[in-house]
């Protein structure tokens, strides 16, 4: 579904953000990407739907080359859902409008169709009664659930999560993770940048560990948590699992 091969990314002439990154996500697979801050995990996931340009290598998404200048990027992006660290709901639109906008403007759905879809998804994330509110009137956890619903409304073939819980207060993390776990169990293809190792243990098939722009370890979940091969991954795990 997602093929990442030999991707290089530079910021300016001196700083290399991604070094020869190669991995893939199969249909129905859940891959967790972890690593210290600044390791390039968010950059990598943003390269997948071309939010960040990259200079070397290829990314192929459902058979379409992302870095081909002839690719219709808006059309491609509409097929991949993305959830951001800071939710990025549109503050001037009501919750329901946040879910309908792209359905109508990008997919060309009728307003009624879009609303029906939106209501179904809001119900699913447990926020149906908030449909007519504005984002700033909801808590962080609720906003992130809306953001997930917004991405799902586009009927994506895969979902990208960029640290979906790291801007949340601790008591709100689980309500968001619960939604993600359900999604994983339904067979959604997911690439998730997160530090939530509990989530990884529960639903991930594979875990990727990144450091300084490199993919240091790319292993099945059992192997990764059982005996990480690299020192850097071991150190990282012991740090975040110490508490």
């Amino acid at each position: 579904m997602i093929e990442i091969s030999h991707v290089d990314k530079w910021y300016g002439p001196t700083f290399q953000a991604l070094k020869d990154c190669t991995t893939s996500v199969a249909k129905g697979e859940v891959v967790v990407v972890c690593g210290p801050s600044g390791s390039g995990k968010s950059t990598l996931i943003k390269c997948v739907n071309a939010l960040e340009p990259f200079q070397g290598g290829d990314i192929i998404l459902d058979g379409i080359k992302v870095n081909d200048p002839r690719t219709d990027l808006p059309k491609l992006r509409a097929r991949v859902g993305m959830v951001f660290q800071h939710f990025e709901l549109f503050p001037h639109l009501k919750i329901i409008e946040n879910l309908c906008l792209a359905q109508e403007k990008v997919l060309g759905r009728s307003h009624d169709e879009a609303v029906a879809k939106a209501e179904k998804l809001l119900d699913r994330v447990g926020l149906k009664e908030h449909a007519r509110k504005y984002p700033a009137e909801l808590s962080g956890g609720q906003q992130q659930r809306v953001a997930i619903a917004r991405a799902l409304a586009m009927d994506p073939i895969a979902m990208l999560f960029d640290e979906p819980t790291s801007a949340l207060d601790p008591e709100m993390i689980s309500e968001v993770l619960d939604v993600m776990v359900d999604l994983a169990r339904e067979g959604m293809t997911m690439m998730v940048v997160t530090h939530e190792m509990g989530f990884a243990r529960k639903v991930a098939h594979r875990v990727i560990f990144m450091d300084r722009g490199e993919i240091v370890e790319d292993a099945l979940k059992e192997d990764f948590f059982g005996s990480p091969r690299s020192d850097r991954a071991q150190k990282f795990l012991s740090k975040i699992l110490a508490h």
Partner: protein, 243 residues
């Protein structure tokens, strides 16, 4: 003070047989409002386009926006009006120039366009700053949903940015109205111009200027109250724009 006040002067007939001095001032007030509103529409239209150009990733777009703003910001408005009014018709092919010079109400059109373009540079700067102040994730989220750049600006970035810059836009609107007074130099007899001719005909300097002053204050109050009302009706619940 050795000055003979005569407040009843306003009700005396003005030379020219078109009513009292007060009527004369009212005509000036009306022309000031008309010119100001026309100039403001031009300023908003051009300022929005240029402001957006300054925020696009394209280098060319940025430089066009930059050059436009510097061009209109680094010449006195008075000089710009002279360029439009006296110089432009001479630089055009003869027949066009003649046509331009024969337009009735040429001072009005020149003032509306000249002041409009002058102010558009300032609107552009405000709007570009407003867009730049939005979190980067907003554009990314819109893009990730498959919206094109045009759609992202149309539905997400501009509606939020315009709300944020409402207070500075209010003062730019007031500046536009005030700047119409500069057009007396190209023969537009607006409020200040009428006060000036009243002073020349009647020698009651201070009555004439006091009346004009009061009228400008009224314009200010109406605009400020109106814009505050607009601002409140467009405010997003829970979202603080005044950061």
């Amino acid at each position: 003070m050795s000055y003979n006040w005569n407040w009843s002067i306003f009700f005396e007939p003005a030379p020219g047989g078109t009513g009292t001095y007060f009527d004369m001032l009212l005509r000036g007030l009306w022309l000031t409002i008309q010119t100001g509103v026309c100039a403001w529409i031009i300023a908003l239209a051009f300022g929005s386009v240029i402001g957006v150009l300054r925020t696009l990733p394209s280098k060319t777009a940025y430089w066009i926006g930059f050059a436009y703003v510097e061009f209109f910001r680094n010449m006195p408005l008075l000089v710009q009006l002279f360029l439009w009014f006296f110089v432009l018709p001479e630089l055009l092919p003869r027949s066009w120039g003649l046509w331009l010079k024969q337009i009735p109400d040429a001072p009005f059109y020149t003032a509306a366009i000249g002041i409009g373009l002058f102010m558009s540079a300032r609107v552009a700067v405000q709007l570009a700053a407003g867009i730049a102040s939005l979190p980067r994730g907003q554009k990314q989220a819109a893009t990730a949903l498959g919206l094109t750049t045009f759609q992202a600006y149309r539905y997400i970035l501009l509606p939020i940015a315009f709300r944020i810059i409402m207070p500075p836009l209010t003062s730019e609107f007031l500046n536009t109205i005030k700047n119409t007074a500069v057009a007396i130099t190209i023969g537009l007899i607006e409020l200040t111009g009428q006060a000036r001719s009243m002073q020349e005909f009647s020698f009651q300097v201070f009555e004439a200027f006091t009346a004009a002053t009061v009228m400008y204050l009224l314009i200010n109050i109406v605009v400020v109250v109106g814009m505050r009302f607009l601002e409140r009706s467009l405010a997003i619940p829970g979202y603080i724009t005044g950061k």
